[in-house]
């Protein structure tokens, strides 16, 4: 089973780093700057089946207006990536999600607070994260550096979209 997943997030939140180490990829990162999208694949083995997550890594931009929402068409889920050291990137990720859902309807997503290894520069309060968790959102503090929780996040999303 395959599912289209879109990775959304602001500029330099570490989406590309997340996929670089943990997914299977044949396209170079220059695609992001040329075509604006790069396709990667992450196979997640669930108890009953294997889900191939086809990850569309969209070029992250802080300019929300240039976000090509059409790339989200047909996606089954979203990976929202936030840079934990820059609070503004949370708003960017949430706005991107709103725009995608406004266009194509609600879909499952996981919210990753990335760069969890940079604890000294962490800018998101635990309260804030807990409030979001209260909404029933699946939230992971990940580190592309250590790989912490990255697999968990993809596994969670795979089980959500495979239902």
């Amino acid at each position: 089973m395959q599912k289209k997943i879109c990775m959304l997030g602001g500029f330099a939140v570490g989406k590309t780093s997340l996929v670089r180490r943990f997914v299977q990829s044949i396209f170079s990162e220059t695609y992001l700057t040329t075509v604006g999208v790069k396709i990667d694949k992450k196979s997640v083995v669930l108890p009953d089946k294997t889900v191939d997550l086809i990850l569309w890594d969209l070029a992250g931009e802080d300019d929300i207006g240039s976000f090509r929402v059409s790339y989200v068409r047909g996606a089954s889920g979203l990976v929202l990536v936030v840079d934990g050291t820059r609070a503004a990137t949370l708003a960017v990720a949430l706005t991107l999600r709103e725009r995608a859902e406004a266009e194509f309807g609600a879909m499952p997503f996981v919210l990753l607070f990335n760069k969890s290894d940079l604890a000294d520069r962490w800018a998101i309060s635990d309260n804030e994260i807990n409030e979001l968790r209260q909404l029933g959102w699946q939230i992971y503090l990940t580190s592309a550096l250590s790989g912490e929780h990255v697999d968990d996040a993809f596994r969670q999303l795979a089980s959500m979209v495979a239902k």
Binding site: M1, Q2, K3, K4, Q24, S25, I26, F27, Y31, V35, G36, V37, I39, D40, K41, D52, I54, W56, R68, S70, Y71, R73, G74, A75, S76
Partner: protein
């Protein structure tokens, strides 16, 4: 009524809006009814009353609510509008809940009819609806067709001249296929390596098949990336089309994609695929959509439902075209040989016949007495010309044995006399007829005569020798001895006899010589030479000759020839000659002559020589030309619009005269192809107007210039006009028809409908409106035509042309025009200038000009005027207009200044106590008056007004009040005197200054004459 309960009140209660049954009222009603069941009560009535109001009340109580509900529903059903709105409310959800198949069945006919009706009513609506659907499909289809054509053209061009090309052309001929098909079949080498079926929505891979040995990266990633790129292109270039990328090409590799409703099929092709492959791929995509449409639509990443698709895709992957190597093309070689062998044979034969000809020519050249001047061979025919001695061998006879076909040899020989000794000898032998006793021989290129001969012969031989001496060989007669006179006489006689015998047409039967007399008898043809006359020069004494001749007709060819010449009188173009005892006629002659010649030939056939007339062609050139001329004349005569009045042929020149329509064919142009020499054709044509309907039609078309809505045509010799035209045109057509009526074809324009007067009026109106719109200073805001009346409204500048006046000549009825104009000030610089001219009244020395929307004022003006202009410029600036006055110079012309100074220097003096100047002042006054008038005039010219202040003064003697009044009186006096001298009194102002402005300080006791004066000051306004 004994009841205690009032039924009315009960009913009223029941009618309340309470939906529940009023149980209390019902109970009391039942109690009341029960009470009435009392036998006493019953006994008072004959029966139960038919209309017991309580029954109604009971009914109301029990089913009142249902009744009102029922009436509401009934009302709803009876009122179409209410029913419609009620059904309308539920229709969408009802349709949504209806079973699909049944609803479709039920709606289909209605929808079909509705669509049909809509198309009948206005096809445009449906076209507009379907346009976005059709357009991309049509565009794509046309694009592909063009690609296909280009490809086949390219291939054809590339292979047209190669060996492959020939081979394929042969194959196309053999199989009956078109050449381009064969080229494509051979030249398109390709292989479909991968086929991806991709979900259109998510870009997820549905199915993927690969050809043998073909490799690729993860197909899932590839398919997603492909759709990402499609999105990228679509977004980047804002392409709204539903279709995807058609083709991606990278070197040898092509990606072709076909877009279906739910899935896109991408074929990866290596090589050079034919455009037809598109259709094959599209077919596969359609088949897949057909079979799996539901599964495709609901595809969510799980392709287990779509297992069968791969076999469908496999058919695409199997497509390939390999380069096939064929064997040696024996058929082509055979075909080439078939062509080459006859060609080679032909070349060999023509070479061989050329060789034979050359052999013949050199043989002729070797012949003495024949000089070949020219010889050529062309097209298998041989031409030779030159000189030949009549005594030389016959070139024709030399042909035999050379294998050259005599029929292909065309000789042209001119006779000449060869000076070669052999020929000279022959000729001398023939001409001198030496007696037997003389022998002629060639000795070392000299001709030597030896033996005995009469002196006459010796004389002749000597003469011949003299003749020959010029260039010819030496003729030596010195060795010939003179013979005796008797012998000479006998010799002469013999000479004569042999001469006679040699004469054609003369047959010597007997001849003797006895006693010095000669006797001869025989036959002679009347046309033969006269034997008597032949005597002369023979040296035979005619008196001694006794001849007896009987006439006969000689059948010798010469005589026959003569007789034929006499009797047939052949034309000059015919030459009769004798060729090997046959009489041959050659040349051209009229057929009448030929038939006479043929009759003569038949007569001759009994015993006479053959008369061959087969070489006479039966038409003389003149006759041929005459025939051509006649053909030309009759061709002209059949031309419409040309009338041949006269024609003749004289001295090889052709004359023709007649009439021609200017629109008819050009007679000169018709000459071409007739082989007639145009220089010998003298034509004289007068123009006339043909009344042939065709020509009349042409002329009418040219002169009437019918509008496009009118069609002119010829129907049974009548010219018929059909269609619509304005009445002015119809009037002109009517006039033309009247003109034609005299002798010309009927011009029927009854079928031309008058364009309706309304349309005409509307046209006129439009002309008027556009005329108005073109007017500067007029802005048409609105205009309509309704019910034969025209309404127009807008703005106009007061300075613009009067819209009413513009009506004249437009044909619009002014009484039907309702105009509503509001004045406005046009900011068009032209109008601004007009307004400024009116309001500022500039002096003549000022010029307004418009330079690129700026109004520039140049020239000279008085300061006051410049001030006014400056105010105007400020006002205009508020309107965004620029009035430039910086170029204006203030006007105080030199002359005015001078005059002013001159005038201001003048004083009129008075005697003490006098208000009137003395007589000595009168010349001063005269001069002053003239100066004032001149200045007033000049000032007016310069656009200013000059005003003159006359100030009276007094001396300081006496009381001040008296001084003031006398000074004013003096000024008034001067004003009156100046007025009398023609100065405009309006320009003269007066004041008394008393002693306050003295010209000089004075002793108040004596007073000063210089101060008793009137001075003048000049002011310009």
């Amino acid at each position: 009524m004994t009841s205690t309960v009032d039924p009315i009140s009960l009913a009223q209660k029941a009618a309340s809006n309470d939906t529940e049954i009023d149980r209390e009222a019902l109970a009391s009603l039942l109690v009341e009814i029960a009470r009435n069941v009392d036998p006493d009560y019953r006994a008072r009535f004959d029966g139960v009353p038919t209309a017991d109001p309580r029954m109604a009340t009971l009914r109301q109580l029990l089913v009142g609510r249902e009744i009102s509900e029922l009436s509401r529903v009934t009302h709803l059903l009876d009122e179409p509008e209410q029913l419609a709105s009620a059904v309308g409310g539920v229709l969408p959800s009802a349709a949504a809940r209806a079973p699909y198949a049944q609803l479709g069945e039920a709606l289909a006919p209605a929808v079909e009819r509705a669509v049909q009706r809509s198309i009948q009513k206005s096809p445009r609506t449906l076209t507009d609806i379907l346009y976005p659907v059709f357009l991309p499909a049509i565009r794509k289809s046309i694009g592909e067709k063009i690609d296909q054509t280009f490809q086949s053209l390219n291939e054809t061009l590339r292979h047209i001249f190669t060996w492959h090309g020939l081979k394929w052309r042969f194959e196309a001929w053999r199989t009956g296929a078109s050449f381009s098909e064969v080229v494509l079949k051979h030249s398109l080498v390709y292989r479909v390596e991968h086929v991806f079926l991709i979900n259109r929505n998510s870009g997820l891979l549905i199915a993927h098949v690969t050809a043998e040995n073909a490799t690729s990266e993860d197909p899932q990633l590839i398919s997603s990336m492909l759709s990402a790129i499609q999105d990228f292109v679509k977004d980047s270039f804002n392409e709204k089309e539903q279709s995807g990328l058609d083709t991606i090409r990278f070197g040898e590799l092509r990606l072709w994609s076909e877009v279906g409703p739910f899935a896109t099929l991408v074929a990866v092709i290596r090589g050079n695929p034919p455009e037809e492959l598109h259709e094959i791929v599209r077919d596969v995509l359609f088949r897949i959509h057909d079979e799996y449409s539901q599964a495709l639509e609901q595809f969510d990443g799980d392709s287990s439902q779509l297992a069968g698709i791969e076999t469908q895709l496999q058919t695409c992957v199997e497509l390939k075209q390999e380069d096939s190597n064929q064997g040696f093309p024996w058929l082509v070689v055979a075909a080439v040989l078939l062509v080459l062998i006859p060609a080679g044979g032909w070349f060999f034969l023509s070479w061989q016949s050329g060789q034979r000809w050359q052999a013949y020519v050199s043989r002729i050249e070797a012949q003495p007495g024949i000089i070949v001047a020219q010889q050529t061979a062309s097209d298998g025919q041989f031409f030779i010309s030159g000189l030949r001695d009549p005594l030389a061998a016959d070139p024709q006879s030399l042909l035999s044995g050379t294998q050259v076909d005599p029929a292909r040899v065309h000789s042209h020989w001119q006779f000449y006399q060869s000076l070669e000794p052999e020929f000279v000898l022959k000729r001398l032998t023939a001409s001198l007829a030496p007696p037997k006793s003389v022998r002629l021989a060639i000795v070392e290129d000299r001709i030597v005569a030896e033996g005995e001969a009469p002196d006459t012969w010796i004389d002749r031989a000597r003469a011949a020798a003299r003749q020959l001496s010029a260039g010819g060989p030496v003729f030596d007669v010195s060795k010939v001895q003179d013979v005796s006179p008797e012998a000479r006489a006998a010799e002469h006689w013999q000479t004569y006899v042999s001469r006679l015998e040699a004469q054609p047409g003369i047959i010597v039967a007997q001849q003797t010589a006895s006693g010095g007399h000669f006797y001869i008898s025989g036959l002679r043809d009347p046309l033969a030479a006269d034997p008597q006359s032949l005597l002369s020069g023979t040296g035979v004494d005619p008196a001694r000759v006794h001849s007896q001749w009987q006439f006969y007709q000689s059948l010798e060819p010469e005589f026959v020839l003569k007789r034929l010449t006499a009797s047939l009188t052949p034309p000059k173009s015919v030459r009769l000659s004798i060729v090997e005892d046959r009489i041959v006629a050659e040349g051209e002659a009229p057929d009448t002559w030929i038939s006479r010649a043929r009759a003569a030939a038949q007569q001759l056939s009994a015993g006479g020589p053959e008369f061959d007339i087969s070489r006479v062609r039966d038409v003389s050139p003149e006759e041929r030309e005459a025939e051509r001329w006649q053909a030309y004349v009759s061709r002209l005569s059949t031309q419409p619009g040309i009338i041949v009045a006269e024609q003749k042929v004289r001295d090889g020149q052709f004359y023709i005269a007649g009439l021609r329509d200017p629109l008819a064919a050009d007679p000169q142009a018709l000459l071409s192809g007739t082989q007639l020499d145009p220089a010998r054709v003298h034509s004289q044509w007068q123009f006339y107007q043909s009344l042939d309907p065709k020509f009349v039609l042409k002329r009418l078309t040219a002169s009437l210039a019918p509008p496009k809505s009118v069609r002119l045509s010829i129907v049974e010799d009548r010219i018929v006009a059909e269609g619509e035209a304005p009445d002015t045109w119809i009037d002109r057509a009517r006039a033309a028809a009247r003109q034609l009526s005299a002798g010309g074809p009927v011009f029927d324009f009854s079928k031309v409908r008058d364009v309706s007067p309304e349309a005409r009026a509307a046209e006129h109106w439009q002309t008027y409106v556009s005329r108005l719109e073109a007017q500067p200073g007029i802005i048409v805001a609105q205009q309509t035509a309704r019910g034969g009346h025209f309404y127009i409204s807008g703005l106009r500048d007061p300075q613009a042309a009067d819209p009413q006046a513009l009506l004249s000549g437009t044909g619009v009825d002014p009484s039907r025009v309702h105009s509503h104009w509001q004045f406005y000030q046009s900011l068009d610089p032209k109008f601004v200038v007009k307004r400024l001219m009116a309001s500022l009244t500039p002096p003549d020395s000022v010029r307004f000009s418009i330079i690129k929307d700026r109004i520039v004022v140049v020239g000279e003006a008085p300061a006051a005027w410049i001030d006014r202009a400056r105010v105007a410029a400020q006002q205009l600036a508020a309107d965004g207009l620029s009035l430039e006055i910086s170029e204006l110079r203030e006007l105080t012309p030199q002359k005015l200044t001078h005059l002013r100074e001159a005038i201001q220097a003048v004083d009129i003096f008075f005697d003490s106590g006098k208000a009137v100047p003395g007589p000595e002042q009168l010349p001063v006054l005269d001069k002053l008056a003239n100066q004032l008038k001149e200045l007033a005039k000049d000032a007016r010219k310069a656009g200013v007004t000059a005003q003159f202040m006359l100030t009276g003064h007094s001396d300081a003697t006496g009381r001040e009040t008296a001084n003031v009044s006398i000074s004013a009186a003096r000024a008034e006096t001067v004003r009156a005197l100046l007025k009398k001298r023609g100065v405009d009194p309006e320009l003269l102002l007066v004041r008394g200054a008393g002693t306050f402005e003295p010209a000089e300080t004075e002793n108040s006791r004596t007073g000063s004459s210089a101060n008793r004066r009137v001075s003048v000051t000049v002011n310009f306004h």
